[in-house]
């Protein structure tokens, strides 16, 4: 089922990906071709097949609830685009 421009615009918004009108045009074609490939899966009989989310049949390992890392905030914030008093700065969210 080919995608429409509206589909593509919605997906781009969900992915928080800015796209131009020209991008929308290209994505509509390219993504339809890729989904066409994916549609082969729809015909496969998978009744009673358990989904495989992960190659290892393992349970989540737990560890003791103790502090093992030190606070490296200053180091991590040296590579941030904008910070102030240990906070990350972004455009105003609430008026």
């Amino acid at each position: 089922m080919p995608l429409t421009r509206t589909n593509v615009e919605k997906i781009a918004h969900l992915a928080r990906l800015g796209i131009t009108d020209k991008d929308t045009e290209i994505f509509t074609q390219e993504l339809s071709l890729i989904l066409n490939l994916a549609e082969q899966l729809l015909a496969v009989n998978t009744q009673n097949v358990a989904p495989m989310a992960h190659p290892l049949a393992m349970t989540q390992r737990l560890r003791e609830d103790i502090v093992i890392e030190s606070n490296l905030r200053d180091k991590f914030q040296t590579i941030a685009p904008a910070t102030e008093d240990g906070l990350y700065l972004v455009p105003k969210v609430i008026d």
């Binding site: 781009a12 899966l41 998978t46 495989m52 393992m58 390992r61």
Partner: protein, 484 residues
Amino acid sequence: MYQQQISELAAGLRAKKFSCQELTRQFLTRIKHLNPALNAFISVTETQAMAQAKAADVRLHNGDSSPLLGIPIAHKDIFCTDGVRTSCGSRMLDNFIAPYNATVVENLAQAGAIMLGKTNMDEFAMGSSSETSWYGQVRNPWNPNKVPGGSSGGSAAAVAAGLCTAATGTDTGGSIRQPAALCGITGLKPTYGRVSRFGMIAFASSLDQGGPMARSAKDAALLLQGMAGFDPRDSTCVDQPVPNYVAALDSDIKGLKIGLPKEYFGAGLNSQVANSVQIAIDIYRSLGATIYDISLPNTELVIPTYYVVASAECSSNLARFDGVRFGYRASEPKDIEDLFKRSRAEGFGAEVKRRIMIGTYVLSAGYYDAYYLQAQKVRRLIADDFSRAFTTVDVIMGPTSPTTAFNLGERTADPVSMYLSDIYTIAAPLAGLPAISIPAPYVDNLPVGLQIIGQSFAEAKLLSVAHQLQLVTDWHLKVPPGLE
């Protein structure tokens, strides 16, 4: 010395034929001369390399016998390196100076290996040709008009051209094995969980695995020995002892049961590549292996399954790149949504965007069951094919890639044709299995890869099977013209 193997360089260092500082300097000089044409490195870490070399010389002087001590290597630019730009081939991380080391980087530094630099790659490891990098395409040392494969194309080209002795790579759908095949080197994707993913920038978390790229199976064994092991910082890293891979190399081929899946030798496989792979398999037969015809009936579903699963995981993993805490930020955003959308639009390249979009779509309400859940079920069917096959055979062999290296630009306009070049490599990561690519006879002066897939945690078996072929053949010793 540029084309020597790890053990030869280690012997030279210990015989004092050259110091590690001299060796490192020579490699750095060679990179300076040859890298502009190949573009295999994104960053050359000269200062750090010389400091590591100086420390290695002290350890050598003190009689330290670590096999990787003083050996010049390179890391794919997907592994975080403390204080060094870690770009993942993306504009998004062009300004990202990693604040910590990946466990693999840390382990190899402890072992005494010298990091010469960070290698070029497809952006966020998404690609099969190393053409999607923000830093430009990598060229194949065997023919500069051909791609080196991808996504670890920089590592493969660097090893093949003798710009480093070995390198790290990562494999999600073939990104170690396919470039190894196209550049004529040995590349191993370990079992999922064998090598820590901590500090390895995530693409598809249930598939990604780091591994060695080297001149021979023996060198790959040495490098894997230094990389593998339990890491409490990676919850999917398996707590299982690491065998001695080098000691296991000398196992006999006699009695080995090799399965050839009929689906790996059908339509789409270049006939010269098929002949080449057959010659290598015939040598195994002459060494005492038995060949079985087998079937992996769900092979035609591996590409659609992979592109649903990997894209879904990628769209989730790459959601973190939002221009807030690190990485690229668009200038003068008018609000928070504009900040997210433009940072991502300007920071990511076309292929990454395509995969984020596909992944977002297959995870979105109304499509999750039809695409994503269904792909996870088909993934189980694909894994079951292998379980069945391994009840009768020890290893599975076939071509790594259906063709030799293709021309630069040949497949960039058609994403689906690019995806199809991974037809034989995608199944192993979907099933979590280890697989190695080693050189087979060349076709028209271009390398061909023989792929060997094994059972979970059978890295030692794969390396020894590969090593036994390399003992009686010299395809892995071939050097690209002009790069001796």
